[in-house]
């Protein structure tokens, strides 16, 4: 009976594998300890009592929904902040490297490069500001005991902020890529490893963020599906 209960709980928490693993281990420990404290003259009856006292697994999973969604939102917010810092470090490292090896853009691409640099700068700082705002918004969000309309509204707003931060961050990375291509157009060689590696890291960061934010936005936007039916 305990095994069947654990199976139902696992199915109910399948939307969040990380949380599910931790909760299942805690619940298994609880049920086994409760069973050990029971009179074992009739093991089946003892298991039934233990499971009944624990409560309905679907109801339990519904109570975990706000915790799971808040965790998902916090992770996305922190990931955006970390990616923004990583992209800034890569940009500065590249500029520093270009100064060391004394690479300058050729005159024929200077006008285009200036335009791309402007777009890059504004897009990056816009992303940084929105990212910081989304992190603050999530940090101040109180996780309720049960999902309710007001909390869901806040989650949808947070998802919107995540998307709004990711789009300009993506534009900034694409601008960095364009600038690096312009820079490396004429000079290639061992010294090009640093800018190529740094731009690869930036693209990796934005790909991870786009995946995480997309995933979080889908979950936060569909949070009503986690309510018990």
């Amino acid at each position: 009976m305990i095994a069947a209960y654990m199976k139902r709980l696992e199915e109910s928490l399948a939307h969040d594998p990380g949380l599910s693993a931790r909760v299942l281990q805690e619940v298994r420990d609880h049920l086994e300890e409760a069973l050990a404290a029971e009179q074992l003259d009739d093991p089946c009856a003892a298991e039934r009592r233990v499971v009944e006292r624990f409560g309905d697994p679907c109801e339990l999973a519904a109570q975990f929904a706000p915790v799971s969604l808040a965790r998902c939102a916090r992770r996305a917010g922190v990931a955006i902040a970390l990616a923004t810092v990583a992209i800034l470090v890569m940009m500065k490292a590249r500029v520093f490297w270009f100064a060391i090896v004394q690479w300058r853009l050729s005159e024929d691409v200077q006008t285009v490069a200036n335009l791309v640099i402007t777009v890059d700068r504004y897009a990056f700082w816009l992303a940084a500001c929105i990212g910081a705002a989304s992190l603050l918004y999530i940090a101040r969000l109180h996780t309720p005991a049960r999902l309710h309309a007001d909390f869901q509204k806040h989650l949808r707003r947070a998802a919107g902020l995540f998307i709004l931060a990711t789009v300009p961050l993506g534009v900034s990375v694409m601008s960095d890529l364009a600038l690096t291509v312009l820079q490396l157009r004429t000079v290639l060689g061992l010294a090009a490893v640093v800018p190529i590696t740094s731009i690869a890291i930036e693209i990796g960061c934005i790909a991870v963020i786009a995946f995480m934010v997309g995933n979080a936005a889908r979950r936060l936007a569909r949070s009503e599906l986690l309510q018990p039916r």
Partner: protein, 113 residues
């Protein structure tokens, strides 16, 4: 006692149960039963979402330990912020219960002042 009435105060009940020291979920339930004189009897599973929520709010910390039985279990403890929150909730509750006692107590004559 009514489950719904208890759920409204579950956070405070858990913080109070952990004020005597770190404990895992089952031990917290036992502590709540013991200290409430068996009056509080919630569905036991209810405590786990609340523990996770309180940890998320920074009021509890937790770590895995291996019990004597060899099972791994999560042990929860009050953080400094949790201790402060409990003190605040205790003060609010004492004010509230004093006000209710004043309203329902035997000295109340029932006549307006």
């Amino acid at each position: 006692m009514e489950g719904e009435m208890l759920k409204g105060h579950l956070d405070m009940i858990i913080l109070a149960a952990l004020s005597s020291g770190p404990a895992h979920g089952y031990a917290i339930i036992e502590e709540i039963r013991r200290r409430s004189g068996e009056a509080f009897d919630l569905p036991e599973g209810t405590i786990y979402p609340a523990l996770h929520r309180l940890q998320q709010a920074g009021l509890l910390s937790s770590r895995w330990v291996t019990a004597e039985s060899g099972r791994r279990r999560r042990v929860y403890a009050l953080t400094a912020r949790g201790t402060r929150a409990l003190a605040e909730q205790r003060a609010v509750w004492q004010q509230f219960s004093a006000a209710i006692r004043g309203l329902l107590g035997p000295t109340h004559s029932g006549k307006p002042a």
